[in-house]
Symmetry: D3
Subunit: 128 residues, 6 copies
């Protein structure tokens, strides 16, 4: 497959998960400087890995939330809480993942995860 | 609920996930020295969090695999690959999680995860 | 012991360490969404582990400060600097732990730890 | 060599890399409380390791940027992006290091690195 | 560019860095299970990022060594010490990076890095 | 103070903590290649930080054990469990630190810490 097709497929998948406006904003945020990274994210991240069969998108979101909470990447965690909600995850499922974080990455990681997850859920106007 | 009941429920859940023999072996491995930690794991880990509704056990396994791969805990990762297989995850689903690790925690983490996951799957006599 | 008793004991211990107001505020901050995590923290964190004999509370505080500095959890680090001061640790002892962080987790971790520790000590009106 | 000479050499090297004003500000920021850490940084960090032959300063800067991005130390990362520019690294070279971060520490680490690097480069009035 | 061309270019670059035999061995080690990850590594890692102009390959190797030492990935660290030697880095330059690790990721990380680096250098029959 | 005096003081302190034989073995293990790192460890680590008043050596050991367990440095953790025992820490105190690790860095970190701590304690012929 041509990398340009892969890139386009990735942008489409990414917009399905996060919304067109959010993706356009993120893709443009760092201009020329960020273009090569956006290329990697779209082509390989969303055009390739996220487009693979074998694991439903909703589960991918929950796994990504758990990983980002564990490795302490707050900004990425927040982005993927939004993605998880768009992929059909419930606030309860997201909260359960945050509780698993307490067991495997510790209470400080779980505290940060709960705080950001709830803030993000409420920004969406979802009661939780 | 009495903590002893919670402990017993945790041991039962843990044995459903990993098998009675494996759990008995792990619970006894560090004797008196490890008893308080085993108490925490059984009571709070399996008796409480893993026993909660709101997220199916199979998804919990995949999230835990992703987290342990990302935070570089090889022994725990291996234990939970076995648990994931017992919880009905397929080798393909486990592999997809390991590919997500490449995106969010990097290629070195994904290399370690793939190696240990395949080794564990094959030890089970599963073709992959 | 009943988990409710353990929970109550944990809340009492937690309030001894951080003050009733601070604990009430933290326990309520995330409402229903955070309740299960607060349950884990109170029951297992403070009702169980922190309530164990075998290591004095002041030393537990210094160990927790060192761990949180090393794993880069700024919010938890700040909470436990306050706890350490309440547990009778001196600013000098806290500073010595932050210097140990430089050796074992590196200078960037030590810079963050020193900055937050001093800020927290000064918020308490303690000269340092 | 006397540690005081080492300290002085370190301060001189540090000021060559970051500028006298920035270094004076950082050295004084935490007063007495931070003095022992500043002593370690100047004597051992800059007076010893950074003063060693065997690796050019520009390469040291790029390695430090990569390490701090990978271990999630944003403040230190920003400081060393400024140092890298002073040591003759180009915005392109810094960006290439940030892309390497995506491969070895993951996309969330690379996103944070790109954002802070570009912000820092632009604060210097450098077009990128 | 077609992803197959990118893949082929990546394999070629990878073999220049690590040697054909080592790469063939690694590419085949996990069979079908590891094929998608090898695809990511070859296409995006070596065909794309490592093939970019803007940073010389030797510096990329030193940055990757520093990052892997800091994030505690021993297997990947060892692979890239070999790559660094093939890319023209001297044992002294590799050692200097390992000393920078002490400053930014701590002495435990530096101890592991020095041990593995020297072992790898000696396996090559290089005196150090 | 002359750095050579600081180095000598550091070697003396280090030998008090770990024993002369163990220190001589570690100092010589990496020959010329490791000499600059050993210089940093002896001069700054033990001659400076570990020699500071303000925190008793026994507490420093327990903090270092907690930090190394949290950041996943098994070799350094083991070295400092031996040091802690030499500094008068009891197996019970070391075990309590390992239980704190479960709360703040997660169960996988606590499992590794308990396993290595008990193995090390038993190698000393201490019943636990």
């Amino acid at each position: 497959m041509d990398t340009q097709e892969l890139y386009s497929r990735g942008v489409a998948v990414r917009k399905q998960i996060f919304g067109a406006e959010a993706v356009d904003k993120r893709m443009g945020a760092l201009g020329e400087f960020g273009a090569p990274l956006q290329g990697l994210i779209n082509t390989y991240g969303y055009g390739d890995v996220w487009s693979r069969p074998g694991l439903e998108r909703k589960i991918r979101s929950l796994v990504v939330i758990g990983m980002n909470a564990a490795i302490n990447r707050a900004a990425e965690f927040k982005v993927h809480v939004n993605g998880a909600l768009n992929n059909g995850c419930t606030p309860e499922e997201i909260r359960e993942v945050c509780l698993m974080v307490a067991l495997y990455a510790g209470i400080p990681a779980a505290n940060d995860a709960h705080r950001i997850a709830l803030e993000t859920i409420r920004e969406r106007g979802i009661k939780a």
